[in-house]
Symmetry: C2
Subunit: 201 residues, 2 copies
Amino acid sequence: MPKTSIASIRRLEILEHYYSLIREEGLEGASIVKLARRMEIPSSLVIHYFKTKDELIQALITYQLEQYEQQFRPRLQMLAPEDRLSAVLAALFSQEWMELADVQVFYSCYPLIFRNTAVRIRFQELFARFHTHLTSELALAKTIGLIQVENISIASHMLIVWVEGFNFYANIHQQESLFRQISTELYAQACTYLGFFPTKE
Amino acid sequence: MPKTSIASIRRLEILEHYYSLIREEGLEGASIVKLARRMEIPSSLVIHYFKTKDELIQALITYQLEQYEQQFRPRLQMLAPEDRLSAVLAALFSQEWMELADVQVFYSCYPLIFRNTAVRIRFQELFARFHTHLTSELALAKTIGLIQVENISIASHMLIVWVEGFNFYANIHQQESLFRQISTELYAQACTYLGFFPTKE
DNA sequence: TGAAATATTGAATGGATGCTCAATAAATTG
DNA sequence: CAATTTATTGAGCATCCATTCAATATTTCA
């Protein structure tokens, strides 16, 4: 008698398969029939758990954004306050960060914000939380005199813009050397902007 | 006996309708049948000009990226060298700039870079040209001592990252006040980064 | 244990999709 | 003008799609 009923297990199973299907074939290539075939269940079972395709996509996005957030949250909370900020900044522009969410799925869902209000709101919420975390991180750093920047809320927006722009641009080029050049420069420029001078070791 | 044969006219007509169809229904909702219905022609005529759907999408992206480029090119070449850079920078983070390409179409096509090599290359080329223009703009500014930044090639990459990140982030929020705040800050920070101090009027 | 609720199946529906094909109309060119 | 190429049409095909439905199996719980 597990608290997680069979229903929630199945739903999760379906979402995971849907996720990997989209990863391989894109959002437009991922149909319920293909999904069911891949799981070796009738498509009607999928519909049993998600009444319509829109409901499935909605759940997929929630799942995907939760995954993303669950991964970046711990990365923002670690270490002693002095080392912390530089670690956070380095993480933001790292290869590792870019692979938090599967880019294929993430960028396939993104254009839905233009037609699907529910999706737009989910993205807004995600980035609102991202912004909150960054802001409290900057607040901490400012308290102990690590950074000088005046408006930490705006500074957080700036960091997000840089991270997202970096990901967007890097995906197009998939070129190791350019990637490193830009990420290094972004890191340095972010430090300057924040008025932050990490003690090198 | 126009040099543009009836074929190229038709092809363009089809692409324009396809573009506006995607704008309304997204890439996944835009089928050849719907496209033909909207143009009041049989779908086989569409196939006559674009043998497969992939060919149609390919042409659409070329068309879309050309539109985009034809619009930003003139915006980067104007005015006297002294006023020019600040105008360019202001343009990059403007509402107007964001509307150069239809966001719906642009961001719907973007995820194709992950599975469609031809699409990826087209995006690479577009941004390569964008980068070239920006770099020569910065080179000019540096020659006349307007900016101090050392590596103008990297600086151009940075500008692109900021522009794209800004667009990505702004689309999510569609909130006028936040938009203005961030764009103002980005402009200021870009000036600082470049070592550029526009003479205010 | 037995009744009600849920999970699972498989067949079926109507509609859309990408695309083919053969036929006709129009334009181009020798 | 005649021959050939191109543009346009409409019917048709196999396939896939999201979703429905009725029937059966399994689980839950009183």
